[in-house]
Amino acid sequence: MSVDVKSLQRASGFSLKEWIFTTDHKRVAVLYMIGSFAAFFVAGIMAMLMRTELASVGPTITSNPGTYNVWLYFHGAAMIVAYQIPALTGYFANYYVPLMIGAKDVAFPRLNALSVWLFWMGIVLALLTFVIPNPPDLMWTGYPPYSTSLVSGNTAFYTFTVLLIGFSSIAGGVNFLTTIARMRAPGITWGKLNLFIWCIMGSFIVQMIFVPVLGTAVTMLTLDKYLGTNFFNAAKGGTALIYENLFWFYSHPAVYVILLPAMGLLYEITATFTKNRPFNYKGTIYAGILGTVALSGEVWVHHLFVSGLPDWIVILQSFSTLLISAPVGILMIGLVGTLWKGSVEFKTPMLYAIGFMFVFLIGGLTGIPNAMSAIYIQIHGTQWIVGHFHYVMAISITFAIIGGTYYLWPKMTGKMYSETLGKLGFFLFFIAVNLTFAPWLYLGYKGMPRRYYDYSQFPEFEPLQRFITFSAYLIFVAALIVLISWIHSLIKGEKAPQNPWGSRSLEWTHAPTPPPPGNFPEPVKISDEWDPYGYNSKK
């Protein structure tokens, strides 16, 4: 295979102007990666501050609850809209999609550049939270009438951050759905696509349907607060319930926007490190991925079981929310089943995939009580919910993102990382997250509410709260080890071969490491027998 040396050299040389005006999907991916990891880091610092505050009853490091509330607002909002969604649908989607389908770039490269810079504007706006005099203080949910009152800080900041990142997502959706539909190399049929591609498709379909609803909801907030409309004002005939419904109509499907690409990454990692085909490829696509997409719009009411909605919709959505376990169960069977008759190699990315199988199991099962309206009465708004979604989203998805980054690392940087550092980081991570999040489930069951600066009404929880704080510090150390392993690799890493994992997927077999602009030295041609997971086929 001939390699275009000139373009390789051009890819390795650094020029700020080239990065700012880039339309190359891989550079756009790196820009997304830097932005989303920066958000992860800052929001992680906020988590450490909050945990320190909660280590004892009464003021610990700040005596101003308002300060704590802004940390909490930033932590929640940034982790979801500035870290997880952009990392998966920005960073990984950009890097992998064109490479996996044998395309030179995405369908609309300039729209792609617009997407990433809209996202960065959102990040900058979010970071300004810490310097403006009246920062937004309304949690990531932004419920009125609190958020439309005079005491909730700058609600417009929240609205515009959400809108910028929302526009970025919609542009991304248009781009990726078109790319996948129109730019596949000849011979790559729908039945031969990598599962990651299917997952990205599912994820963007959900984004395209539901993001406009969120955009509408937060725009109505701003109109109510600044322009005197009364959508959510009970005194003038409006109701906050409208907002709660609109918000969760997007924000519950948003977890599938995040889950699907994460599952996609894990299918790729698991298939590569077991040298095996994913278990029940077609079943996973039609029942798992598309089933999740189809049901994702019928689950939002479980967030509002105690808000005062009619009984009929509560019962109806109790059932439909429970039923989401069917497609998600199929997704998990596809992942765990891939181990069957495989040849499991315990490299760092695979360890993260295995870690996911366990933390996601806990996260998924602790979600079942949340779907049952009567059971939910006790656990709504408590640390149980926080424990549940830190298992199912925060940590499961972070395992997918970190594992996915280790997996992609040699391709992206052209360097190998240290397995020792990688594994050390993983084991510490795995232990620390369980020590942190499992006690939350217990505290919530006992009645400890979430979003509390202090808990003087529950002094009996102090020892466990302190234990959680120290476990949370361990998570921070684990994250630092991960970061160190990446920096270590950039400085001292050995040169990576084109296909260090022996994968059968196009990005490893056909693209040089690191891939030059245009990705493939010559147009991708595949044989009829080609299969991204054909490890045990004759050829």
Binding site: P144, A240, I315, L322, P369, A374, I377, N536
Partner: protein
């Protein structure tokens, strides 16, 4: 678990509606269903985890150049691996969903004989109005052994009334009156607190429930009424027996 599912499948359509012979306190129903649910998800979790660990050990790489040997599933096998797990998950879901429906009815059907209080929430506290015309702040006194119906509304933003010991919680919305009921079986002091973010002092928005002996409670009520100068006969008896849902 399979044993429990079988009668469900056989009796589909004949599922009996709950008959409340006597009052089931919501918290008892909750604890019972919670226990069953923990066993249910515990069993599923252990099966999944055990299978995962078995596969990881059984199929670990033994030779460097080894590749996996899983065959492509035949269309029938692929369909089976979708339909059978889905059937199992959905059967369990529906089984749990029906039990939940029964419990939900208990939570939502306020007993006729409930003692009714009105609570107005505000930033950051609770004003409790008793049917006898007296009020307390951040303190709810109730007689033991009698259902209590709490009607909630809010003066400003969304708040919540959450009493963990009684497993009850409901939102208080401005411009709306809605409620919950609970059944104090033992005298004592219990916490209620807010769980919907409401600003600066959200975590300081809490109060206590004092469950008292019937006679001590009546004594407290009449003392309070005398203090406020409310003549006892002016309090309509009807107030004491208010029930029904809002």
């Amino acid at each position: 678990m399979k044993k429990r599912l079988l009668p469900l499948v056989l009796s589909a359509g004949l599922y009996p509606s709950p008959v409340l012979a006597e009052i089931t306190p919501p918290h008892r129903g909750w604890e019972e269903l919670w226990k069953e649910l923990m066993i249910d998800i515990g069993v599923i979790g252990l099966v999944f985890a055990a299978v995962t660990i078995y596969l990881l050990v059984r199929y670990r790489r033994k030779r460097p150049q080894e590749v996996g040997s899983a065959p492509k599933l035949s269309p029938i096998a692929a369909l089976g691996w979708v339909l059978i797990p889905m059937f199992v998950f959905m059967a369990d879901d529906i089984f749990m969903g029906l039990k939940n429906w029964d419990l939900w009815d208990i939570y939502r059907d306020v007993p006729e004989e409930a003692y009714t209080v009105d609570i107005e929430t505000f930033m950051w506290g609770y004003t409790v109005r008793y049917p006898e015309g007296i009020t307390t702040r951040n303190e709810l006194r109730v007689p033991v052994g009698r259902p209590v119906y709490v009607r909630l509304t809010s003066r400003d933003v969304i708040h919540t009334f959450f009493a963990p010991a009684f497993r009850v919680k409901w939102d208080a919305l401005p411009g709306k009156v809605q409620g919950l009921w609970f059944y104090p079986e033992k005298t004592g002091e219990y916490v209620f607190t807010c769980t919907e973010y409401c600003g600066l002092l959200h975590s300081k928005m809490f109060g206590k429930i004092l469950v008292m002996e019937e006679d001590r409670f009546s004594q407290w009520i009449s003392d309070k009424m005398a203090q406020r100068g409310i003549p006892a006969e002016k309090v309509e008896k009807a107030n004491l027996t208010q029930g029904g849902r809002t």
